[in-house]
Structures are given as C-alpha cells and as structure tokens.
Point group: C2
Chain length 351, copies 2
C-alpha cells in the first residue's frame, strides 16, 4: 500500500506540500478507511512548526478524520465495508492498564499512540495523520459517525468536540450550574453548545465587545467582557465551572475570583507554565479547584458523537481544499476562522 497521496511538512519552515506515504497492511483487528474529511486543529500547526519540540519529519498532520471503511482485518468485528466512521487523536494504547480498561485510553499508563507523530508500538514506524487519502487503524480506536450528522462538520467533534465534552461530563456539569467558557475558537464555541445542551446557564468570557453578538449566536445566555473590571468584579464568587480553552499563557487569577466556593476551573487548552503565578490563596480560601483534561477516551468519543446526533449539535466549519492548507494556517495564526477548517479530501484525491 505504498504511494498513498498525502500532504506533509518536511521541516519546520517547509510549509505543507504534496507527499507520498505508505500505509501498513491490515493487522488482524485493523480496518482501512478512505478519508472524506479531515478537520484542521491548532495542534496540527504546532506540530508542523515544531512549536512543542520533538516533531518527527515528515509530519502528516490531521486527527479529526471522517471516512468510509474499505477493508476489514480478519479479527475486526465492529465495522463493515461502507460504514461511515471517525478517527480522533489516538490510534493505539497499551490496552491492558487501569486507564485503558476504564476506557480512558488518553491516560494510558504506557502512553497512548497518537494519530500522527507517534511511534507505532508494533513496528516502530512514525504514525501519519489524516491529511491523506487513507488510514489504517485498529478498530478499537475507530468510532461510528451517526447518520444524522453531516460528515464534514462531524470531523472536528473528534478533537475539539471531545476535548470540551469530556470534562463537562466528568465533572457532572448540568442543570442548575453556572458555566463560564473562556476563549471562543474551535474548542470554546463547542464548549458553549455542550454546556447549554447539558442544561447549564452559560456565559462566554471574551476580551472584545465585537464578539458579543457572535457569542450570543452560539447560545450563550450571557457575555462578560473580561477586560472590564466592573463586569469581572460583579461576577465574583458566582460560577460553578469555568471551561478554559485559551491555548496561550494568561492570568487565571481574575477568573478564579469568579468561581464560587467549590468551583472548578478546567484547563483544556493550556500546556505551558501558568504565568502570571496562580495565587494559592484563591484556591484555599474557597476550596476552589484547578483541573486539567485531555481529549477523551474511546467510549466517550463515541458518546459525544451520539450526543451531538441526539441534540442536533454541529461544529461551525469552513470547507477547505487541501492545496490551500498553507493559507489556512496563516489565517489560523490570525484567529481568522469560524470556527474550524475542514479539508474536503476530494481535493487531494482529484489532485
């Protein structure tokens, strides 16, 4: 299965360009998927440009993959040819540790194998993501796309969706809760939709007046301008949860003050040091909590898709031809996307 068409970065400053890759022959529990759509995540861009270090070139990004099953390994039983399926951020894990046995493969004690840029745990090759015609994945790491969902706008549910849905479920967010969402990008706008569907009263925190009407469109009950000290002060001690999707360093302390006692600040976007420094007193004096959360496990990834089908929730997307990927990255750097680019993979197949 060599010479599959893909797009890759071959160096941190190479940009994305056409590239030929191999895909492995099917192992017993593998399925092969012809990719129809692939969402474009900020992680793709960070990995392409080696912002986090450790990128293994060539990088074929993409972990919001939707396509059709074209072949099934001899021991694979869950899917059949023609099924519409999805692959998210992980393609393997140890499968035997407590985390894996709990369906929390993202916290696998042996380290999950990520969809791109990881080493395959069987043959040691570097994994390649969804900016390609086809992918071969163990069926355990494949989810079913419900028929009611538009396949293209379902793609971002596999990262942006599950990343915001999982912590809301884990912390039992629901009716009677006041939830604030920080950041209104791909993750943030999904967080608002999920928190609303779960029954919470939802406030978007944004730095700019210009985003207020947009915030309302996503279903937010309230908007707080985070740069307005009077508005922030009026929000003191009032939130049960804050879902913080901001991916760059920011001051958590003004937000922590908005949490009531026993309130929880959930980080899903920040991977760097918390600067300026977190004020420990803000935690101690109200029994507040700062928590992190990483994507979600495989059962919960299926759950979020089914939840979206049931509640008619979709990601707001902009379709993209793969030969425009470099321009798309440039726009993402300026925050100019509402709210997720999704590559129409026909543009690769027909190229």
């Amino acid at each position: 299965m060599a010479n599959i068409k893909a797009y890759a970065a071959t160096a941190p400053d190479s940009g994305m360009a056409p590239f030929a890759i191999d895909r492995r022959e099917l192992r017993a529990d593998d399925i092969s998927i012809d990719i129809d759509y692939c969402g474009v995540c900020h992680s793709d861009l960070h990995t392409v440009e080696n912002d986090w270090g450790g990128s293994k070139y060539p990088v074929v990004p993409g972990h919001e993959i939707v396509g059709r099953v074209t072949a099934v390994g001899p021991a694979a039983t869950r899917y059949k040819e023609g099924d519409l399926v999805g692959v998210g951020c992980m393609v393997d894990s140890c499968r035997i540790c407590q985390a894996c046995e709990s369906g929390l493969e993202q916290y696998c004690l042996g380290g999950a194998t990520m969809t791109y840029g990881s080493l395959d745990r069987h043959d040691g090759t570097v994994t390649h993501g969804g900016y390609s015609e086809r992918i071969v994945v163990s069926e355990r790491f494949v989810v079913r796309i419900p028929e009611q969902l538009d396949p293209a706008s379902a793609a971002p549910l596999l990262c942006a969706g599950i990343t915001t849905y999982s912590p809301l479920r884990h912390f039992n967010v629901g009716k009677g809760h006041k939830v604030g969402v920080l950041g209104m990008g791909g993750l943030g706008h999904m967080g608002v939709k999920f928190a609303k569907a779960l029954g919470a009263e939802v406030t978007i925190f944004t730095r700019s007046e210009a985003k207020v009407s947009e915030a309302r469109k996503h279903g937010a009950d309230h908007v707080i301008i985070s740069t307005d000290k009077a508005q922030m002060k009026a929000a003191s001690d009032s939130f049960d949860f804050l879902l913080d999707t901001i991916p760059v360093a920011h001051d958590l302390n003004p937000y922590l003050k908005c949490l009531r006692y026993d309130g929880t600040h959930i980080l899903v976007g920040l991977l760097t040091p918390v600067e300026p420094a977190l004020q420990a007193g803000l935690l101690v004096t109200r029994r507040r909590v700062v928590a992190g959360s990483l994507i979600g496990g495989m059962p919960e990834t299926q759950e979020v898709l089914d939840f979206c089908a049931e509640h008619e929730i979709a990601c707001d997307i902009e379709m993209l031809d793969i030969h425009n990927i470099n321009e798309a990255y440039a726009r993402m750097k300026k925050g100019d996307v509402k709210y997720r680019f999704v590559i129409d993979m026909k543009s690769l197949k027909n190229s």
Copy 2:
C-alpha cells in the same frame, strides 16, 4: 467584664506582653468560656508580626481554645455551665448564606468573623483570641470536647486538626488510596494520622533523611526523600492524593508528577503565589487537580473531635507557660517544635 488578663502584641515588633482586654456582655446565644488551654498556630505569629498585612493592634492571638463553660446566654441551649468546649478559627458568620446553611461557615459568602483580628459583625469591635483568661462566643461556633480526649492535646485539633481532616473527608480519602503528606509540622503530622485512620496507605515526603524515623513514628507506611531525584522518579504517577501542608512557596511540579491520572494535590498551607510556575501540561495530560481547602465548618469541626476520640488520635504537643511565648515564637521560626505548642492558661491566671 473589663480588665481580663491577656497577652498581646501592640506593634509588629513589640513582642508579646501582658495586656488587659474587655470581653462583651453575653448576647442571647452566647456562652462564656474560661480558657484552660490554647494552641499556638503559625498564623498567630504571622498576624502578630503583620506578615500578611492588615493586622489590627493590639493583637491577641489564639484560635485553638479549650475551656469550661462558665455562663450561658438566655437563648443558648447547647451547652451548660461546666461543659468542656472548644473554639477554633471562627466566632461568627452571616448564618444565612448557602455556605453557612451547608455548615461551611468558613466559606460564608459574607465573610466569616475570625476568632482574632476580625471586626465583630454586631458592634464593630476587633475580636480577640485565646491568649486570654476568658472568651465570649455564640454557641454555634463552639464545639464539645469529648471526654476521652486530653483537653490540652485536643486544642490543636481546632485548627491544625480540622485543616487536615476536612479535605481528606471532602475528597473521600479512604481504603485503597495512596496518600502523600508534604510537610511534617503541626498540620502534616496530623494529616498522616488522619489519612491512616481513614484507611489510606500513607507516605511522608520530607527533604531530610534525618526525619525518616520521626515520620515512621507518626504511622507513615513509607517515606520519600523529596530531594532524591531517583526516589521521586520512582514515585511517578502513583499517588491518588497529596496533602500539601507546606506554608511557603515551593515547586509543586515534581509532586504533581507523582500523582496518577485523576489524582488531587490539596493545598492547605500555601496562601502565596505558586512559584515556580505550575506546569499546566502536568494537569491536562493526566486530568490531575490542584485544590485548596480552608479549615472546616462547624459540623465538621465537631466531627474531627469525635473522630479523634473514636480513633484515639491526639496531636503531639509541648506545654508552654504564657510568659515564655516570645521564646516559643523564636523556636517556631526555626521549626523547633514537636509538633504544636499549647499554652497552659493557668500560667496566665496565676501571673
């Protein structure tokens, strides 16, 4: 009731000296308590020296108070003359907010009235603590000292005890959990005893080999030298809870790495900025939590006393004459106390 003997600081550098105070006449739900013992908390020293700012001089510290009821207001029904009772860190709160109604007066939305250095919410006078012959307190903020407890060593349960007991209970620490305790002072040694009594497997983290045998005496199952990188690495991803009693800035990150996924790092001693910076990635990649906790509410303060009676738990104390308080403070600054000074208030009454 004027001219009650007390010890006070009249300025940040005055040291402690004899001082005469007033106590109010009994309000309807008040009781008057003749103080037998008063524990000496690090907060006393910080307030005396105005380390946190805002100290109101004269400062009469002391919030680990044990004594006998000598008078009862007309509407007070819980206690009678002669009862052995205790007063902890709070003497009042709004009593009508959600926190107060939940028995979490320490998180009172109107702000709890602390035992010393607060403004009384009725007459605006500054509250004075337990380094005195007598105290007058609403019975809601008084607890009963079980007969089985030694009154002197029960005193520190009212701050050091409840501060460590409350979060262990709130986070449901129990059998099957691995708990680490950071810091081995007045709070830390109580944390070990409680975590053991609740059924957890307990490890003390200490910087010094010299403290290992001491740690074992408190009942710790294991000791980890936190300055030994190999020991810390071997502890990676293994703890369910860390109870962090360290009251000064310290690097949380090496400890966070010791938490398994879904593990919780509980701060009870730190009120200052978290420096060096918390690594958000350590939270996100394992769904770890950093939480704070402040003393405990009144129902739980009674509970910890009853728990200690049932499990024969006591604080390790060193008895002190009040005229030696300045030397005691000097020793506390050097960490030279095992593990809590308790003032024998006869030394004040007979002076």
